[in-house]
Symmetry: C2
């Protein structure tokens, strides 16, 4: 049985859906049901339920966006750094392998040599290596707290997208925002991401950090171009002049825009599709929904 924390959240609900489709037994816990953030409570549920794997899809992301983390720092820090540490304690105590939904948003830009950031690189958009958003700082601390954790997968997601009308879907966000920021990013197709996460466990990859973004990177202007090509919209998109203009007009805290190196996932046979293929696939499905 798979044990999912944050089962009613954005990512968690996709994990639940995917696993149920695969015929797996899923026990989904949401924090409104039980305070699983207490190590003792978590240990006793794990002892009772004896899951073969635990997934931590609970986290504090800020709604509607990362700016909200700046005004609820304590809970952001709790959800993204303290709580993963408590799960580690509980899972190591009971002897349960697990995976943690982490984020590539602890990096900015590319490495100075032009390459994407690999799993071995120190975060450069974190408290220890700023500037950073408070959100990114807490996600980097979360990874620090999980360093050398036993039987723990750290699955780095970035900017999730698919074809659905959720306000959390990157492609939907692009359609909703009045102005866009031109930036280069690695991004993660949700189904591809979930599939890779679970494959890391089922294919017995070595526990540790994995960058799970679609291979390659996108630029915002390129994506809106694809949107038009795929017939999703004929909207004229506005762009901020630059990052300063974006920060001045639309943001409280800086965003991470970065490119990830996905070669470790490729070497381990759990790579996500090339990004253009995944984006166009989602855009075609969005188009079908509009026509339907």
């Amino acid at each position: 049985m798979f044990f999912i924390l944050g089962a009613t959240g954005y990512l968690g609900s996709y994990f639940v859906k995917y696993l149920r489709q695969e015929g797996e037994d899923v026990f989904g816990l949401s924090r409104t049901e039980i305070d699983y953030t207490d190590v003792g409570s978590l240990i006793s549920i794990l002892r009772r339920k004896k899951p073969k794997f635990l997934i931590n899809a609970a986290g504090y992301t800020g709604k509607p966006n990362v700016d909200a983390c700046e005004s609820d720092k304590a809970e952001c820090l709790f959800g993204n750094a303290v709580f993963p540490g408590r799960i580690r304690t509980a899972c190591e105590e009971v002897g349960i392998p697990w995976g943690h939904v982490s984020s590539g948003c602890i990096y900015s830009d590319r490495k100075s040599n032009g390459e994407g950031w690999s799993e071995n690189d120190e975060p450069n958009f974190s408290f220890r290596n700023g500037p950073c958003s408070f959100y990114s700082g807490t996600k980097a601390l979360g990874e620090e707290i999980l360093k050398d954790a036993k039987d723990c997968y750290i699955w780095r997601l970035r900017i999730p997208f698919n074809e659905e009308k959720s306000p959390r879907n990157y492609l939907q966000k692009l359609l909703n925002y009045s102005s866009l920021l031109e930036a280069e990013n690695s991004i993660s197709h949700i189904d591809d991401y979930i599939n890779s996460c679970l494959s890391s466990f089922t294919q017995e990859c070595e526990p540790g950090i994995y960058n799970l973004t679609n291979s390659g990177s996108i630029r915002t202007r390129q994506v809106v171009e694809w949107m038009k090509e795929e017939g999703v919209t004929d909207k004229e998109f506005n762009f901020f002049e630059n990052e300063e203009d974006f920060m001045a007009k639309a943001a409280i805290t800086p965003r991470s825009n970065c490119v990830m190196d996905t070669s470790k996932a490729e070497r381990n046979g759990i790579a996500l599709r090339p990004v253009e293929e995944a984006v166009r696939d989602s855009l075609r499905k969005m188009r079908e929904q509009v026509l339907a």
Copy 2:
């Protein structure tokens, strides 16, 4: 009535003792009695007890020393950063003024102009401005989370000492350690500190950060000299060659050694005694205990 969190801890028990001596009504909560770390629970106790002031003397310091924080990062982060944020939420909700035991250990050395660190200076021994110990990183994040908190005093302590035989007492530590590190530090006499903390509230000082160390600074060699002069010991003290030698032989994480600017406390009439006076006073009492 004064409401004290962490009432059975090292500092907390002195707060309780001092307030009771002053004839104040004290409600001391220890975490073993009730999980006051939950905002909802804390709010309801505060509504029921209606204290005139809350003191947070709970924190994660690491036992026997700060190295222990490196191996329990999640709880260190929780106790020193998340929990103060939750107290803030509860106290602001119920409308209760409060004080937080913070630390000067978020600084290293002196300012580049030779002055001590004032309340307006950004920490330079923190996650955002490293290197730092994990402990110091969490204390600095705690202050960040309390920034602009309503009716909140942030009382910065450093290296507490008095005449008692506690292993937490700096003067006792000097006697117990096999080798010492020569360093310059501001330090806090516990009674002086507690007295200044409570005065900040009773004298209606403006809420905010206060450096509450005895004025001036000490060097380790000077203190052991005073120990001999006051007849506390005739022990020959060994010193590490330098900080590198100390780190290699006796420590896991770097220590904060720093000098604080105490002029804000002086301007507000809540200053602690000059450091030599306070140290010699404690040493004389230690000597009396030996003779008794």
